[in-house]
């Protein structure tokens, strides 16, 4: 790699953005060269997403200047930014379910012939060309609601390729992708880079950043902390820049002998979603479920929580056969589920932190006919301290918190229910490294306190780090269950791809 003095594809200078009461960005500089992948790191709330929204014209900066290829520009709105060659691929999906893939890709700029009629043949041809580049094996005519989340993400990415992009920003693109799908995405990103686009890549995952990026910049608390060449730095140094301290990655050592079987599942099936699933979880044990998105892990969790009616098989709690009629029943039997999508399933975004946390047990927190304020606040305070939730006050609406703090609220909510069996679905999706470590530690702590914990995750390091046993799923079936010590990355990847271990004779 040669140092060149070419004008950078993108230069941000002294960007300041304030929201009422918050200085979200405080004089941030950033320089992205054409043909490089530039990673942008920072803890949740450090201002990465805000910075990118300023870049993409969704926010107007209070101060500072934006240069594209040396030319000062102003981004009036997202369309303007796109026209100038800056494309933002959102962290959350922003697709229209009822429309086809092609219509979503060209949303707002559908090709049309005279009289405003959509030019379908051009639209489909252009979209299929893009989908082919992305190795997507679905057609431009497919309706978006028929696609899996991962494929919807690819549609989102396809949007970036409709223009001759100078700068493409990926805001946590892998949050809902599995390891196999990531490989495809990385190829796409490298391909874009080789064609001379400047890529800004935002992620919390160090392995991705080190695999992909050429340089990286770090934000902390809304201010710029410096830029490094990726090859010349290491995880510890970057982590220190991000959080101002170094992180100790202690390997999970199982200290507690697993106790009695808390939950046993025998031959559980639910239609076509999953079939003949059997496993057990002991007290003091963390069982990890690993597999591709759509392998049926979440469906099992939902069935255990009473959200789906099993079509066969039995569930045993403490050795006693039970039939779980619904979430209320599940909660009263000590099963709690931290769902995978905190914004849609875990939180009422407009309600305060405290109200969200006490939501499942509000019926018990009463004095006479009224809700007891004190009891609610004390529960909130307890878990705020325990989970280190950073929020100005319990009155803050949850929607205004960063992703990591939101997830802590959800976990706190279910911990407050004092569960026997805790199911955590994608506990650290979209959460920064600092908070990730805390949540992993928390999960271990809970197990050692005698809870039976099930962790569903699409991240291999997380599964390996946090669980005592790993169950690999493929297409609704359990392929293999790994005990402590016998799991390797290779065998795990084979299992989730549907390759069964050869039966010993």
């Amino acid at each position: 790699m040669t140092e060149t003095n070419q004008t950078p594809a993108l230069r941000l200078e002294g960007i300041v953005k304030t929201f009422p009461g918050v200085r979200a960005l405080d004089g941030v500089d950033l320089e992205v060269r054409a043909g490089e992948v530039h990673a942008l790191l920072g803890e949740n709330g450090a201002g990465k997403s805000t910075l990118m929204k300023v870049l993409a014209g969704m926010h107007q900066p209070n101060e500072g200047r934006i240069f594209l290829e040396g030319r000062e520009v102003q981004m009036a709105n997202p369309m303007d930014a796109k026209a100038q060659g800056v494309v933002l691929i959102h962290q959350e999906l922003s697709l229209c379910d009822g429309l086809s893939v092609a219509e979503n890709v060209y949303l707002g700029e559908l090709p049309y012939s005279r009289w405003g009629f959509v030019d379908w043949s051009t639209l489909h041809a252009k979209t299929n060309e893009i989908l082919k580049k992305l190795n997507c094996n679905f057609d431009a005519r497919t309706r978006v609601s028929d696609l899996s989340i991962a494929r919807q993400q690819m549609v989102e990415i396809a949007r970036a390729l409709t223009v001759d992009a100078k700068v493409v920003v990926f805001d946590e693109p892998t949050a809902s992708l599995t390891d196999a799908e990531k490989v495809v995405l990385f190829d796409v990103i490298r391909d874009l880079r080789d064609r001379g686009a400047g890529i800004v890549y935002i992620s919390h995952r160090m392995d991705e950043i080190f695999a992909l990026s050429d340089r990286l910049s770090v934000l902390r608390d809304g201010s710029y902390r410096g830029t490094k060449v990726t090859a010349e730095t290491n995880e510890d140094e970057v982590t220190q820049m991000m959080i101002g301290r170094s992180l100790t990655h202690e390997k999970n050592v199982s200290t507690v002998e697993p106790g009695a079987i808390a939950l046993e599942v025998r031959g559980l099936s639910c239609g076509k979603l999953f079939k003949d699933v059997s496993f057990e979880v002991r007290r003091g044990e963390v069982v990890g479920f690993y597999g591709l998105v759509g392998a049926g892990r979440t469906k099992i969790a939902e069935t255990l929580f009473g959200l789906r009616r099993p079509s066969g098989g039995t569930i045993l709690l403490d050795g006693e056969e039970v039939s779980i009629s619904g979430p209320v029943d599940a909660i009263s039997r000590g099963i709690s589920l931290v769902p995978e999508s905190r914004k849609e399933q875990g939180l009422v975004l407009g309600m305060s932190c405290r109200d969200n946390m006490t939501l499942p047990q509000i019926g018990d927190l009463t004095t006479g006919p009224f809700v007891s304020n004190g009891a609610e606040i004390s529960i909130y305070d307890q878990y705020r301290d325990r989970l280190d939730i950073r929020s100005p006050s319990w009155r803050q609406a949850v929607g205004n918190l960063s992703g990591g703090n939101q997830q802590k609220i959800v976990i706190g909510k279910w911990l407050a229910m004092k569960p026997q069996v805790l199911i955590v679905d994608e506990p650290t999706r979209g959460i920064d490294v600092g908070a990730k470590g805390e949540i992993h530690k928390l999960i271990r702590d809970l197990a050692s306190q005698g809870y039976a914990v099930i962790v569903i995750s699409s991240e291999m390091p997380e599964v390996l780090h946090v669980s005592d046993r790993v169950i690999a799923m493929y297409s609704g079936e359990i392929i293999r269950s790994f005990g402590v010590g016998e799991v390797t990355e290779d065998s795990l990847i084979q299992a989730i791809s549907g390759i069964r271990p050869e039966k010993a004779a």
Binding site: N77, P78, L95, C96, G98, L99, L107, R308
Partner: protein
Amino acid sequence: MATLKQNKALRWLTENPIWGFCALIFVFFSLSNEFFFDVNNFQNILVQTSTIGLIALGMTLVMINGNIDLSVGAVVALAASLMVDLQSWSAFENWGNWQMLPALIVALAAGTALGALNGIIVWKTGVDAFIVTLGAMLGVRGLVFVYTEEQSFFAMNFTFSDLGMSSIGPMPALAILFLVATVLVHILLSRTVHGRNTYAVGGNREAAVNAGIRVGPHMVVNFMIVGFFAALAGVTLSSQMGASTPNLGREYELWVITAVVLGGTKLAGGAGNIIGTFGGVLAIGILRNGMNLMQVPAFYVLVIMGSILIAVLILDKQLTRKGVEALRT
């Protein structure tokens, strides 16, 4: 290949269950009443439903946008009153049958303008369309009473009332008008950029904004379209009666919404189509006509229609639910 075709037909039917229902009641009334299965009666049904049907076409666009327009019934009365009153103004005395033209233009323009007003208020203030048009429903109805001084108007020119009863070839003119409008709006919704954007705005407003769709003006256009169709329905209705009354079109908004919802358009927006709406309109038309022929007392007709609306929507929910595997709520 046969199974593939079958699957396609089956999928189409699960997406437009109202057509299955239409076929069902069609067969039922054909078998149970000797007068039902008759080409003249079919034409009758089309003419009878054309009023609600025209409005439902526009309402489909507005509801796919995630909005609603409750003022259409009042607009029907206003347009009908303008149409009948203006053509008898002395200023147009010597115009012969052309005296209907300025009345028609003013009536349609009034409906379109009121639609634009609704849309602009929704756009600029961000107040929910339900509230804005609820206000418009009351206000416009009041205006009609002020304007007509609580009087009914009668058309002095008999050509006007003849038009409503006229036929083009074998088909009644109003039936043809309704069918042509249906085809046009179907093409608008399914083939044009504006139509496809309608789904985007209702399905994911933020995505639409970020994609550079000008959501506000877009919604105003759809409100203007429904206003136009409400006014057109007022004109055709007054032409059928040769008169207008200030109470014309009461509860029409509810019948229109019923038809559109029966046709599969979601109240939340983002989904629906004209084929479904047409089916919903026909379902109401066939039920009314069939029960009329069977001499079911009028009040029972309402009870039965209400029950059927709820039953069809429950059925729809069951069909779209993915069997036992679905999430419990």
